[in-house]
Amino acid sequence: MNNLDLKVDLNGLILDNPVTVASGTFGFGREFEPYLDLNEIGAISVKGLTLEPRQGNEGVRIVETPMGMINSVGLQNPGVHHFIEHEIPYLRQFNTKIIANINGNTTQEYVRMAEILNSEDVDSIELNISCPNVKNGGLAFGTNPKVVEEVVKAVRNATDKHLIVKLTPNVTDIKEIAKIVEANGANCISLINTVTGMAIDIYQRKPILKRKSGGLSGPAVKPIAIKLVHDVYQAVSIPILGMGGIMTGEDAVEFMLAGADAIAIGTGNFVNPTAVIDVKKGIEKYLEYMEIKSVSKLKGYLNTVE
């Protein structure tokens, strides 16, 4: 047990262990402090931040679906300045890496946030390109290769911080997007964000969510995520932070074998507040069982014998 090496290097962002938590599912860590030791987490990607505080969406914000959930939170958050003043000092008490997840309506907003955070004590910036692009009729930034190039390049120029770009699964060719992200200077790719989904109340004959659709997460999306992580692994050489439906150590190992260097737990935190600890133990158990000393060995370690 003691001689297992759990360290992973995400191209300059070094994690004590590969288990991180996904943006929007862990708040700023405070809510989980009664349940687990935050020092045990490789990194915390905080609730998606915007320049100004946002109140989030009206009406019902969740639909539970088979082995998943559709959310329509709408980026409710206290804004980047509140994060800097109140949440960074809190998180810094713990031995975990801080990832600032940034969101914007326009490229300029993303750039402004990257500039602000550049001089702050965060370990990495995660560029969430699943946001609707106001200029482009509300289509997500991450679905248009040209827009991806523009926003990644602009944010890269605005900061020297370690930069993660978080991809949306709602695209035709994820390899093309991943290559553009790599070519424009991202240090790491995280995926997947939620899958677009919709549910209807058949008796009222109305969509359950006011905005009709929302983001599907949880075990239901895991096979989609595994496939997309593997696609990206084949397309780029920068590290991958994989996520989508991880509940157990076995799930985490599956992501790493598909090509992820580290993983994030999202919806799993809701079902099991100590999921981070349980997943970490599960990975260790697997490594011992397989007699593998270093977790970084798992990346893309598929058996290719026919």
Partner: protein, 257 residues
């Protein structure tokens, strides 16, 4: 602190074809109006935990009273004493019991009488006079418990003629005229809470409402369980039902639609 783990079920009790209670021992201080988040599966499905209010607190033994409405509550209904169940809690703010000194009115509707029962027992043990008005579609549940702690009990049913006919709000006006209450507590369907709020507003009074909303994490992390309150930086304020609530004062809540 909150407990997070697995406990053995000490007792179960079937009230009627769809309502039952179960008890467990929890090594934490629990307040009326707080809830626990139950893992209601052993197969992974349904995925999300089910929030259930405490309906009785006796030392460390906590009782829950549950109505079967779907897969999760059916799973809990199938558990027998000796079986294990995973839960997290106590969660939420719970009722404020310090605002009443002499006489309290409790209002409950449907399965919403469950947390109100736990509250009534706690208030009675503090020597507060407790009056209750509880309403049901058909037959009442927990009637015996309410009889025990209530000085005046009004039971209302939409369908069962042995009780007063109609909705609790039809009897509220008269009850409020007859007695002076230093606090009012209510839990039930949203339509009932809204009607109670409207009536109290018109009399310049307010109540502690125990509200509910679909939840995912139950601990304040996911922001899917919002309650809209008056004031705040956007002209209104979205707060978390599971963390800042589920108890809110009727004069601070904005009821949408």
């Amino acid at each position: 602190m909150a407990f997070n783990g697995t406990v053995k079920i000490l007792n179960t009790e079937q009230h009627d074809h769809e309502n039952f209670s179960l008890s467990v021992a929890i090594p934490e201080t629990v307040k009326p109006g707080q809830f626990f988040n139950f893992l209601a599966t052993d197969s992974g499905m349904p995925l999300l935990r089910r929030p259930i209010s405490v309906s009785g607190i006796e030392d460390n033994v906590i009782t829950f009273t549950i109505k079967v409405v779907g897969k999760g509550t059916q799973y809990l209904a199938n558990l027998k004493s000796g079986d294990e169940v995973a839960l997290t809690g106590p969660l939420g703010n719970g009722f404020d019991l310090t605002t009443t000194k002499k006489r309290t009115l409790l209002i409950g509707g449907g399965i919403g009488v469950a947390p109100i029962k736990g509250l009534g027992e706690a208030l009675r043990s503090m020597d507060i006079i407790v009056d209750s008005v509880i309403g049901f579609r058909e037959n009442p549940i927990l009637e015996a418990a309410f009889l025990k702690f209530s000085t005046q009990l009004t039971v209302v049913s939409e369908k069962n003629d042995t009780y007063k006919k109609g909705y609790v709000t039809q009897y509220l006006e008269q009850i409020l005229d007859e007695n002076e209450y230093d606090e009012i507590y209510a839990c039930g369907p949203k339509v009932m809470l809204r009607a109670v709020t409207d009536m109290l507003n018109s009399r310049g009074k307010r109540a502690q409402l125990l509200m509910e909303e679909k939840m995912a994490c139950g601990i304040g992390a996911c922001l899917v369980c919002t309650c809209k309150l008056k004031d705040g930086e956007f002209g209104s304020k979205m707060v978390r039902m599971c963390k800042e609530g589920p108890m809110f004062y009727s004069d601070e809540v904005i009821f949408d639609e």
